[in-house]
């Protein structure tokens, strides 16, 4: 959103984006999933009434975008009811789905409930790679079927491809597929290396040549098809020299609610060693304005050097807190993507490995599933 979400230096603006991660259950096993790696230990899910309460409270504060995500949100049988309430309250309602389990009937029921938009993920434009990464032999065929149903029923459709070294060379084919399916927007988003993806980083990171080719194909398509599908290309931040302004600042506009009601400033924050407030016990307003967790990285008093004295600190907020913690052990450090970070060497090494890595099949992928989650928990 093109708003900084804050009204004064001290008092943050309201949340503008509510991301409702309804469940961690998912029929797919993508090895770059943004869900926490300890998802096997989190079995509670909020009830319909608890979700309705969160949705109402956030809207009252001013949230305008409501995303239903997961896991796979279609697993929840009350999805239509939650969409209907969100739409009635004036939210723009977004369903972020793998398409698994979706049927023509359910696409229609969601339309009747007032759903505004569907974002459908593909793992690749090739059936074989798609199904390997999804961990399901039926995924690609189902996604094609659902993309057609989504458009036939008049929704705007965003197709999302998460890019990595095994599929980034197919960006041209992905765009051709998106055009054939009549997508309105296409997100070509490189993997962000947190959680599951960090465990698979050496297998997933593209080389600089791959990245440059993919960007060139994307730019050529944009030039040739002005006024056509809108394309968003997200580079892997490891190839940047300055960090991204993650979430537009901690607790500035995004509120993620985990399946069990934990309130998070972003969907990866659960990996941080912090206590996050529980929306089953606290109101959205108290969480947003009063909780220690949401205030922890607001403003810039929390910053360590080199961020503290950096002239760019208001521009990028020191980058991503999760990445800072995962790679340096301290969430208040500079995101090591930044060249000024004393930990930037770790990024440079990972990039170097990606660029001298000749046999792409050598590292086995760790798929996102309950068994692997239990193993990761056991290993600590």
């Amino acid at each position: 959103m093109n708003s900084n979400g804050s009204t004064s230096a001290n008092r943050p603006g309201p949340p503008l984006w509510l991301l409702a991660e309804l469940t961690y259950r998912c029929p797919l096993q993508c090895p770059y999933c943004s869900n926490p790696t300890n998802l096997a230990a989190i079995k509670d899910e909020m009830s319909t009434d608890q979700w309705l309460q969160v949705i109402r409270q956030a809207r009252e504060m001013g949230a305008a975008q409501l995303g239903f995500s997961g896991g796979e949100p279609l697993v929840r049988q009350d999805l239509e009811e939650l969409v209907a309430e969100g739409r009635k309250l004036g939210y723009y309602t977004n369903l972020i789905t793998s398409g698994m389990g979706l049927t023509d009937e359910r696409v229609a029921a969601l339309r009747d409930a007032g759903l505004d938009h569907i974002q459908l993920s593909f793992q690749s434009s090739s059936e074989e790679i798609n199904n390997t990464f999804a961990g399901s032999g039926k995924a690609f065929e189902q996604k094609l079927k659902i993309a057609k149903a989504v458009k036939a029923q008049g929704y705007p459709m965003v197709l999302n491809f998460v890019l990595h070294r095994h599929n980034i060379d197919q960006v041209g084919e992905m765009l051709a597929l998106s055009e054939a399916l009549d997508a309105d927007y296409v997100e070509l988003a490189n993997t962000q290396y947190h959680g599951w993806a960090l465990n698979n980083r050496d297998s997933l990171m593209p080389s600089v040549e791959q990245l440059e080719r993919a960007e060139a194909v994307t730019n050529a398509y944009r030039d040739k098809h002005k006024g056509g599908m809108k394309l968003y290309f997200v580079v892997p931040d490891y190839y940047e020299t300055r960090p991204k302004p993650c979430m537009n600042g901690w607790g500035s506009m995004f509120l993620t609610v985990a399946p069990d009601g934990l309130a998070l400033p972003c969907h990866s924050a659960r990996d941080l060693p912090m206590d996050f407030p529980d929306l089953r016990e606290t109101s959205v307003s108290d969480v947003w304005f009063e909780s220690e967790a949401f205030n922890k990285f607001r403003g810039n008093d929390w910053m360590n050097e080199p961020c503290r004295s950096c002239p760019e600190k208001e521009k990028d907020f020191g980058g991503c807190r999760c990445q800072a913690f995962l790679l340096t052990g301290d969430a208040a450090n500079a995101d090591p993507v930044c060249e000024k970070s004393p930990h930037h060497g770790q990024i440079a090494e990972a990039v170097e490995r990606a660029n001298c890595h000749t046999n792409i099949a050598e590292a086995p992928l760790l798929f996102r599933n309950v068994a692997n989650s239990k193993n990761l928990i056991a290993r600590g």
């Binding site: 001013g62 975008q65 004036g90 723009y92």
Partner: protein, 90 residues
């Protein structure tokens, strides 16, 4: 050159509404929001997919009788809105 007989209509994935928390009209679209300034909000309030640009100018002139000629502002707004792919013309 934009004709005043053109009928502007919001593209189907956009929604126009008043947002009390923002104290302005906004356009909502997949995962995003555009905040409109006061005059853009007034213009979009008259845009119903049936009225011509001329009709919209007349409607605004009736609503704001003190205002100077609004034609240029309205045309400029629709030109930008079309470039931004918020609206189509028929």
């Amino acid at each position: 050159m934009l004709e005043k007989t053109a009928v502007p209509a919001l593209r189907n994935h956009f929604r126009f509404q008043w947002e009390p928390a923002q104290d302005c009209h906004v356009l909502l679209y997949p995962e995003g929001m555009i905040k409109l300034n006061g005059s853009a909000g007034e213009i979009m309030s008259c845009c119903d997919g049936e009225r011509t640009i001329d009709g919209i100018i007349d409607m605004l002139a009736a609503k704001f009788p003190e205002a100077p000629d609004l034609s240029a502002d309205v045309l400029d707004f629709f030109k930008v809105a079309h470039e931004q792919q918020w609206i189509d013309f028929s």
